[in-house]
């Protein structure tokens, strides 16, 4: 697919005598990317070819449509997932969850997973979470707390980043 769609040789030829400017676009390899190969049909007679070609500018370009497609799709799906999760947190989560019992302030500890601050996982203290769900739950709780703390620092107290 690369040879057919992802390379081009583009020659821009300005107006010359009575010939108007023209852009030529062709699927040729880098080696053949020059005026003589790309400009077809040649609008000038044989002895003028050189002068005309001197004015033209040919540029060889390559791209990868697959990379572009994949990147855009990844990006959009991440944004979509984040939006869904946000919607979940805002709309659904408060409904299925009891009121939040953790109100004490605590430090931001997302960065350090070494930090197993007990305060962040109070429901699990001393015991071990057995199901995957509970673990995810715990992690989510901890993370939400950290974000809350960050939000307080940045948006409410304006202690940082302002």
């Amino acid at each position: 697919s690369k040879s057919s769609e992802d390379i081009r040789c583009k020659c821009i030829c300005p107006p010359y005598r009575n010939i108007s400017g023209h852009i030529y676009n062709k699927n040729v390899s880098q080696k053949d990317c020059n005026c003589l190969h790309v400009v077809e049909p040649m609008p000038v007679p044989g002895n003028d070819v050189e002068a005309y070609c001197l004015l033209c500018e040919c540029k060889y370009e390559e791209r990868s449509t697959t990379t572009i497609k994949v990147i855009i799709i990844i990006y959009l799906s991440v944004v979509g997932a984040l939006l869904l999760y946000m919607a979940f947190l805002v709309l659904v989560d408060p409904l299925i969850r009891k009121p939040d019992p953790y109100t004490q302030p605590l430090h931001n500890e997302e960065d350090s997973e070494d930090t197993h601050s007990l305060a962040t996982v109070p429901t699990l203290a001393g015991a071990r979470a057995n199901t995957v769900l509970e673990r995810v739950e715990g992690a989510q709780q901890r993370w939400k707390r950290q974000v809350q703390e960050q939000r307080k620092t940045v948006f409410d107290r304006h202690k940082m980043l302002s």
Binding site: I72, E110, T115, N130
Partner: protein
Amino acid sequence: MDQKGYRRGSFQSATSDEDMLEIAGASMDFSMADDDPPLDREMGGFSSYNGGGMNGTSTMMDFLEEPLPGVGTYEDFNTIDWVREKSRDRDRHREITNRSKESTWALLHSVSDAFSGWLLMLLIGLLAGSLAGLIDISAHWMTDLKEGVCLAGFWFNHEHCCWKSNTTFTDRDKCPEWKSWSQLILGHGEGAFAYILNYLMYVIWALMFSLLAVLLVKGFAPYACGSGIPEIKTILSGFIIRGYLGKWTLVIKTITLVLAVSSGLSLGKEGPLVHVACCCGNILCHLFTKYRKNEAKRREVLSAAAAAGVSVAFGAPIGGVLFSLEEVSYYFPLKTLWRSFFAALVAAFTLRSINPFGNSRLVLFYVEFHMPWHLLELVPFILLGIFGGLWGAFFIRSNIAWCRRRKTTHLGKYPVLEVFVVTAITAILAFPNEYTRMSTSELISELFNDCGILDSSKLCEYVNDFNSTKGDDLPDRAAGPGVYTAMWQLALALIMKVFITIFTFGMKVPSGLFIPSMAVGAIAGRLLGVAVEQLAFYHHDWPIFSGWCSQGADCITPGLYAMVGAAACLGGVTRMTVSLVVIMFELTGGLEYIVPLMAAAMTSKWVADAIGREGIYDAHIRLNGYPFLEAKEEFSHKTRAMDVMRPRKNDPPLTVITQDSMSVEDVETIVSSTTYSGYPVVVSRTSQRLVGFVLRRDLIISIENARKKQDGIVSTSVICFTDYCPPLPPSSPSVLKLRSILDLSPFTVTDETPMEIVVDIFRKLGLRQCLVTHNGKLLGIITKKDVLKHIAQMANQDPDSILFN
């Protein structure tokens, strides 16, 4: 701490990637099963970050001296002790070296340990380059999305959409596959209604993007907002901000950066890319024990990551390394120089292999021209330097004033509304003017570009004389009507950019400053360049032009003026010097422009420094009160250590602990009645002779632990910091020996030491505190915060602005 590893493996492993890795790291600790759940519980109360570092080495070391978990770690918003971290790393290194002689496995371990730094750099380069490619491609696409959509595949931006189609010479931007919104909705793209519809769509998309960005930032990672460079500078100088370089920050910053750039706000992606690269560095540090567990080593990695970030932002690996060295880093050993360079190169090559712009260049505004310049042109270049300096100083002042207002008044309460309003204003003002409608990078690219005969842009609408067929070598020509229109539009764009950027930088979306600064400078430079060009064209008989700019010669390159202007403005705002020139050199690839660039950058820096000493990043650091000890500024006041140390003259005496006469209860009283982060230990209160220094955190942990685990430790037990504790009567409770947590080599200075030397010591050695003595007697203490407050006071600033330790 073994049970910590165990516990982690048992019920928390699935929560994150790093936890998964922790298991692997901790598994070798299982051999020593000293499982004690109650301690576990207690320890959890402290942020035992890095406690594992002691853990890793302790298994190799004397079991009896094994430090407690939590001892030797830091709390959030505190400064690390470089000396301690570095010597801890050396201990670790020593252990590995010693053990490498014992077994083949240990030898392998030592080799892999030595190469882990390089591997880490490779990974950082790959990740940072890939993310930069993702950001470039997505931002390009989303920017074009504001104007229309590609029918051949929605994922193509305008240029890629028209990749194959044969466009005509006059309308080279149009192609059948690309549909503007009006074409898509109305079926045609002409007329007032279509224009209004496009206008509306442009504003709506811009608003949508920016709102989405600010909501994501607010909802998931508040730390992802802003440029990030001031905070990274502070972190690299030893400050701890947990979560600032975490996973969520990385994801959200990457995502919202694309949104913010695409929304057409007056901001760039360069500063945030540095933050993104540092997040990559920090996250990848978790893969390697050596870096995960040592704050100082980790900062070396972050320095290199910052270099990789600039490298991909500007396609300038050497410039990136120098930027990291000059602007960002604090502790930059030469080993890091080499590694940074490697990381920067890998990142640049990764990005090149992704090829985001389809032309094998890493930045949109890469230029390659080799027109000579004349010595007399240095006059306009220096004028541009002065403009850049003035703009830089003006920008810093107004932006800081606005940010202070946002920080202190009710304005800061409505971040989302603020973003909405600013985006709306920007979008509404930007659309009518084609130079503000296009993305700022494209604008810069067009301004840097030297007009060839083939350029279709309005800026290149000169009165052509097609008789000469010399190809690229065009003489200076008279400006056509297009150029004059472009000049007006550029002037308007300049005014708009100048003002809107002040309000944009500091909003709660990721926002870099390089691109808007460069745009302002490039516009000013291009305006001046065209003016000089036309002056030389119409007045080539003037004595100043004769000799080098005769008729028909190509002597003025307006693109060069734009480049010089961009460098000047960037220099005025950031006060970069060498790195700026090297970045611009790498952008143009020609040594011949170093002199103009240097002249402009130097003038700009001098002018801006004359108005206000600080660059934008330092100004923001001061605004936020981060504990950053500027390494570039010399402290030049004639104060002495005794003027700065605590306690001051009328304060109560320094809180000290005696080495072998205080009971657990006494110490606990002291700890609970004060908030100091450490206490000097003296021989006796009367002699005040210094023995060592003990950290509050270590003290609390050790006492609590001893009360739990050690028999006979009660409130009346004597705490003994000496090697051999004095024999006590048999009836008394047993002695608590705490020598292991005592720092026996605290830094001391005499009270007569000039503060300039003290500042130097703090800066170069990265101290947290320093004790002050007089004739061998302990007098007081100076902490980093005291030093910062003193510097602020001496500079006639509010010393209370320093908020953190």
